[in-house]
């Protein structure tokens, strides 16, 4: 039973003065709907395009879209809580005589209970389905898919780049440009890239933030992540797996350049590094380090590294 300030046992649903109780639920819901709509629209139009990780690639713009959808769903929830709290604080506050100290009892309200359960169930299951689908689209959403990806891109000219982690730096091999290995990560615009991520020692994690790419680098594993570039510019690369003393220094930058600039860079670098490339082991997707320590060599796993679509830049047929 509701209590009043300054009077005893008023009937539920009325104020102490006997005036009929206003339609609190309708007021709250109306206010909540309006403010949710306004805030969602403002968020989507003003903040949404600037949310991380940006839209440099298909994976990045996919992640940004997912984040925006989650925010659009989450904002009405938090606004609903705040609306209820604010409304209750204002209308049911202890103030003048005759005002309700507690609102009308809500238990036993069938419509409210069903509405709450249906609403939360739809929201949670909807986000589950949405999140699962978005993990797949596009082509694994930038995450490492292991050595045999289920979700592959549709492009038939994918540029393969092998990302090699070691304590404590990243190097990159370009198999369709003779297999040279460099510390520079340069990729062409408007191109689908297959990052083949591996490690020569411990577990690292290749995180190209603005590309929306994040894949664990495990020794003797080929972890593949796809994306398609959309914008020119610089992106950061860091290790996201605590990997030892200088883990924090395992940090650098990569660049998305035009296709012409990329072709020129790749051809020039291939020529510059030719002498050292001859000394590298034959290109393979994984390498087995010598477990005895300093005594050298990393060894191929003898699995054919060349696919039918990862041929971008191939001057020689390697299919």
């Amino acid at each position: 039973m509701a209590e009043t300030n300054g009077s005893s046992s008023p009937p539920t649903g009325t104020t102490g003065s006997g005036t009929p109780e206003p339609p609190h639920a309708k007021r709250m819901i109306t206010f909540w709907l309006i403010i949710s709509l306004v805030v969602d629209v403002l968020y989507y139009t003003l903040a949404g395009p600037h949310m991380p990780p940006g839209d440099m690639t298909s994976a990045a713009s996919g992640a940004q879209f997912d984040l925006n959808i989650l925010m659009i769903c989450a904002l009405p929830v938090i606004l609903g809580v705040w609306t209820y709290l604010g409304y209750a604080l204002y209308n049911f506050r202890e103030g003048r005589p005759g005002t309700l100290l507690t609102g009308p009892m809500a238990h036993g309200n069938f419509r409210l209970q069903v509405g709450w359960m249906v609403g939360t169930t739809v929201l949670v299951l909807g986000l589950f389905v949405f999140g699962t689908a978005e993990l797949i689209i596009p082509a694994g959403a930038g995450g490492g898919e292991g050595p045999d990806p289920i979700w592959t891109p549709t492009s038939h000219t994918v540029l393969p780049i092998q990302v090699i982690g070691q304590q404590w730096k990243w190097t990159y091999r370009y198999p369709t440009y003779g297999g040279f290995e460099t510390t520079s990560l340069v990729i062409p615009d408007n191109t689908t890239i297959a990052f083949h991520v591996t490690s020569l020692d411990v577990i690292h994690d290749f995180w190209a933030y603005q590309l929306g790419i994040k894949a664990d680098a495990n020794p003797q594993q080929d972890n593949v992540a796809f994306t398609t570039t959309h914008q020119l510019g610089q992106f950061t690369v860091r290790c996201d797996e605590l990997c030892g003393l200088w883990h924090g220094a395992m940090y650098g930058f990569g660049h998305v350049v035009t296709k012409a600039a990329f072709a020129a860079w790749a051809t020039r670098t291939e020529a510059q590094l030719a002498a050292n490339t001859k000394l590298l082991p034959p290109f393979q997707w994984t390498y087995v380090p010598d477990a005895n320590g300093a005594d050298g060599g990393y060894y191929p796993d003898n699995v054919d590294p060349y696919s039918k679509v990862e041929i971008y830049g191939a001057q020689k047929a390697k299919v």
């Binding site: 404590w168 190097t171 030892g244 003393l245 000394l279 300093a294 990393y298």
Partner: protein, 229 residues
């Protein structure tokens, strides 16, 4: 004579306080233990090059880890070899490195670090011979590298081909077989700490060679501290 209760409480509190302080002091002293920093910046004049002398040894030969491989740096003021990998150098200054390499070599796990990179002219001098690349599968292999990944500097150090290697640091160039590696680069204008390391997994006895000295400042990892002179 019997002490008053308040006196006894005060005495116990004082003893506990002293004991706690000692434990914290010893703990912090242990945690904050760091090799010394060799100073190449104080007194540096603008436009003047800095000369850094280092040596790499197969086993340090004494102390807590006598079997660990290690770098040492020569103090420019005293001429003494200091067991450390921390050095202060002035910003925007040419630094000439001379590394006396006393350790044996092997083929590289990743020949990519056989390339000389980030030095002036993209080259180094090994026993007076100018090189841009070290083939780790020939000669005596590569013993260690001096690498600062964030500055793009990488210099492979040729291994010593001799059964008679120096086992206790500092090693004398007059007595033990060694290679002399020289190279230069210009320090960045921005002050800061730049991690440097060896990229040869030379922690013998550790899984994949990456433990022990490979993970310890003062042995095969260090900081190039770029400061305003």
């Amino acid at each position: 004579m019997r002490m008053a209760r308040s006196t006894r409480i005060a005495l116990v509190a004082v003893v506990l306080g002293i004991a706690t302080g000692l434990i914290v002091f010893v703990g912090m002293a242990y945690v904050r233990t760091s090799p010394p920093t060799v100073d190449f910046a104080t007194g540096h004049r603008a436009g003047q090059a800095v000369n850094v002398h280092m040596q790499t040894v197969g086993t340090y030969g004494k102390g807590t880890h006598p079997t660990w491989v290690s770098y040492l740096i020569q103090d420019p003021k005293t001429g003494r070899w200091v067991h450390t990998t921390l050095l202060d150098v002035p910003a925007d200054t040419r630094v000439n490195f001379t590394i006396y390499q006393f350790d044996s070599g092997s083929p590289l796990r990743n020949q990519q670090v056989g390339l000389v990179q980030g030095t002036i002219g993209g080259k180094m001098s090994v026993n007076g011979k100018s090189l841009r690349l070290l083939n780790s599968y020939s000669n005596a292999g590569v013993a260690h590298t001096f690498s600062i990944p964030t500055l793009g500097v990488n210099v492979p150090l040729l291994g010593v081909s001799s059964p008679n290697l120096c086992g206790v640091a500092p090693c004398s160039t007059a007595r033990w077989p060694h290679n002399v590696v020289r190279f230069s680069f210009v320090t960045p204008k921005a002050v800061g700490q730049y991690a440097w390391q060896c990229f040869v997994p030379c922690g013998a006895g550790w899984l994949y060679g990456n433990g022990g000295p490979m993970q310890t400042i003062g042995y095969m990892d260090g900081l190039l501290k770029v400061v305003q002179a």
